[in-house]
Assembly symmetry: C2
Amino acid sequence: MAVVYAVGIGPGKPEYMTQEAADVIARCECIGGYTVYIDLVKDQYPDKEFFSTPMKKEVDRCRMALKFAQDGRDTALVCSGDAGVYGMAGLLLELLPEYPGADVQVVAGVTAATSGAAVLGAPLGHDFCIISLSNLLTPEPLIEKRLRMAAEGDFALCLYNPRSHHRKDALRKACAVLLETLSGDTVCGWVKNIGRDGMEKKVLTLRELPDEEVDMFTTVFIGSSSTRNIAGRMVTPRGYENKVD
Amino acid sequence: MAVVYAVGIGPGKPEYMTQEAADVIARCECIGGYTVYIDLVKDQYPDKEFFSTPMKKEVDRCRMALKFAQDGRDTALVCSGDAGVYGMAGLLLELLPEYPGADVQVVAGVTAATSGAAVLGAPLGHDFCIISLSNLLTPEPLIEKRLRMAAEGDFALCLYNPRSHHRKDALRKACAVLLETLSGDTVCGWVKNIGRDGMEKKVLTLRELPDEEVDMFTTVFIGSSSTRNIAGRMVTPRGYENKVD
């Protein structure tokens, strides 16, 4: 039985991929993904069949992959970050029953929450939430409710998709919701172009965050009440120091 | 300036490590970590200096690493999963100001939330929370509050440390809290020994979860209201299918 592998390749450059992901891509006959990601790997494999669809054509892309597998050809569907976090893994599994003879396996990768956290320090060192601010697939009231619950639970928080063409003020709105509960002094940070050329980062406060210029390649971090700015690094302690002192 | 690299090596076998992590370990003069993890990498590098401390001696381990760096020797402190998620990265950054001349850099890895999710299907395909049930470093009322907020926000949820020597009933207690808000039919799953020999997994309901035998090497997943069991796979849809149908 041929398999579609949903492969997370991490934040960008090949060095952020796991060996498992590299092995699976090397082994598969067909490789598909969003055009930008295909361009990242295409040159390495002149003998493979590549396919891609533009953004927002995710369903078509998954169906193409499942059809290849149904025809007996192992196929890698490549996603940035992790294939299971706002990625294609779930959609492939939803469509799979329509493609008898094909199977789906997920190959984990480093998602932007942890690759971005590594750049800033350790903002996700204790319990945390990940919320996407994109309202393309989620109703805005649900996004706001989740922001409120994250703030009330004193979680550290990582925000994906803080700005899109359709929602330029998404981060400003999210900060307004969070500031109903959280202090303006809450330590925050953002990273742009994680693991790619032109990477930028900043550690700041929640009071300052709404005025920051973020884009669709920015990942945003909001601290919990225990998060600190230690010499420019954003750190959410796990609590070892309390056991020691 | 010599550096302590907090290196996440993923869930177990070397193939789940990123190329960046493998390169950093190969380059460093000294390598430290929890004994079990050191044993995983020791044989590959006969010419390096290794150091380890038992569990619960995390502060000592970080101080040893920072001292090596202060003495001018690049050092890798190896953690399973990601070094910034309940790992050593935060503690190193907290202690760093006491070690002038040393620096700390974090190398991201695949954390159990996403490696375990890949085994089960795609349980974390939409907004989610990660909560540790260990009460060693967190007061129980805060753990319970976060469980309540995660349930009220209809997040998918990943639980680390569902059982420990000191807290054998942690998962049962957490389920009782979640069942105040969530349906007993909520789709759940667990994975034991992710990426290692003896890996096991199960997809079940929240009603059944309290009676499961979990251990400290088990990662538990609780679905949101949209999570489904599709042919034995746990899937939290991102929502593409609503756009299509």
